[in-house]
Symmetry: none
């Protein structure tokens, strides 16, 4: 127990520092020294704990995905109907903790670099497949088969697009407004009578 305590703490600290530093400087441009400085540690300590910059980045992305997953599961527990659960997915994506410039920014950084780092790509795909299957399941009861996939893709792409645009934002974000907007979009798509 006590054995791994320090190790876990440092992991946590360094991953948090990575998130901040990548947001500030950009994924491929940020240096070990900058990340270490952000964590108040030495660059060498990153290699001590993670082995390489690449592995640190992978661990950081894993953390991001965990945060997203937790936000969703948290809201899922309370949702009763398919419609509630669909809104839970939306609310998770635009929750106060996740829909921040820093989160969206670093999300975009990892996303953009996934095609050049197999480990990141793998994580990206696993995550996307997971969200897709959730959304698809809920839409089953809400949309006619003919439009189901169209609505699903529209909804997911919409959320992606919002996040990525948020990464470019100069001023701080408004999560509650974003949730309202997203719910509106979802309802528009569901209410369509075509």
């Amino acid at each position: 127990m006590g054995r791994t305590r320090i190790r876990d703490i440092r992991h946590e600290e360094l991953i948090n520092a990575t998130i901040t530093a990548v947001h500030k400087r950009g994924y491929a441009v940020v240096t070990m020294a900058e990340i270490a400085a952000e964590a108040g540690a030495s660059a060498a300590s990153i290699n001590y704990y993670f082995g390489s910059k690449e592995k640190l980045m992978e661990a950081t992305m894993r953390r991001l995905l965990t945060l997203l997953k937790e936000a969703m599961l948290e809201r899922y527990a309370e949702a009763k109907t398919p419609h509630d659960r669909l809104m839970a997915v939306i609310d998770a994506n635009f929750s106060d903790r996740l829909y921040t410039i820093e989160q969206c920014s670093i999300w975009m950084q990892f996303w953009a670099n996934a095609p050049y780092a197999p480990a990141l790509q793998r994580l990206h795909r696993i995550n996307r497949a997971r969200v897709t299957s959730h959304v698809r399941a809920e839409l089953h009861a809400l949309v006619a088969p003919k439009h189901r996939e169209t609505v699903r893709e529209a909804l997911q792409s919409y959320m992606d697009g919002i996040w990525l645009e948020a990464a470019q934002s100069a001023t701080s974000l408004n999560p509650s407004q974003a949730r309202r907007d997203a719910r509106d979009v979802a309802n528009l798509l569901l209410a369509s009578k075509t």
Copy 2:
């Protein structure tokens, strides 16, 4: 006039090489040497023609925006009604020439790096504002004021999301299917009776 002929040719060649090289290797990781090799030239020649790597990147992004603008204007000319023009915007985004993995990939690269390069950010914002004003103008006649901005943002974010996801694609894209999908989404949003 004849004086600048060669200059223009080299500009063109180097920008095309940059697009290919950035797609292959990633924006922040691609080197002058790789770009030069792609163009069959020397790294020094890039500085001769563009002054610096940064300026080359800026010129390349400008080219991407020009392509997009041209695709839109081209289709705009033939469109008569607001609905036709909205579809023109969609068709431009998913035209055979623009909706390719290479284009989407490099688009995402520039997008992701815009926050760290003022010149890119500026171009990114100008472009976004331009598209926004076009779409908004067409929706004026198609959507009730209450939902107008929601629909507009949904549509634009959807298109962004599709492009960015396309950048992760392993297999080649299907532009005509993408156009149909996007039209379906637009029509769903327009047809909503809420």
Copy 3:
């Protein structure tokens, strides 16, 4: 007494681990961590017991010289005539325990690095002087003064050359054959009638 028991055991273990690790990786390239791993200990423990990497290397070389000295003295005890004793020197050099790839390899490693480490150089010279004086003493009764030094140097250099070449060997060595060969060479040199 009991106090130093553990200390002695650890010394022995770490020196043996050093011999193996240097053979595997090369003198100047082997790391404390590799040596420690070979001994099933931590890198920090090496410093605890030896003070520094340099001191460990010195202790290891001392051990090698002790092994060689013991092999010689062992055979010297049984030798009666000068010729017997000369053969004892040869047999010691190519004994089953010493004439192995690992021994020759590590020997060469220390030899090659002696010029850059005063402590190693000193040990190397002491050892060489000792062997030289032994061989010279025995040759006194076996070779005419005119050729004595030539034969001595020929013999010693021959043995060095064989060891060093053995360090490059891909397959395992044949000590008994090496002894026969060395005896043949010695006898050729002694039998010369020029």
Copy 4:
């Protein structure tokens, strides 16, 4: 012609600098910076011309082997009888240009590190096989079959041993004396009547 002139000159300079620097500091310990300083160039220029430290070392060893080969061929041309040619081999090994502390020292450095660098090992083996076949060919006419291989191995190992010991020398060497000694040893071995 003119095109590769500079390249060839730099290659030559950097290899010479490598020889000097390796002699001074040791193969595995010498740094790019030290080598570059020795050549009056920058460390980066080594990578520019050789690609890596490893490749520079390989090129340097190749140069050493070429020097040895040339020294032998030079003397071979004038030699008429088998005995003359055997002496030519000896004289080449201990020629004024090759039998210097620097040459012997760097020779030992490369030899000692060959087991850990496949490229060096290959060169080492090729060279050794070449010398072996030369010596064996000349001994054919000079030594009875029974002792032929023994004499050959004795002679080669002797020369190796002398070189390697010379690498430890504190004072400068005496090539002409070394040639006389080596000839004496060779003649002792040839004159043996056993």
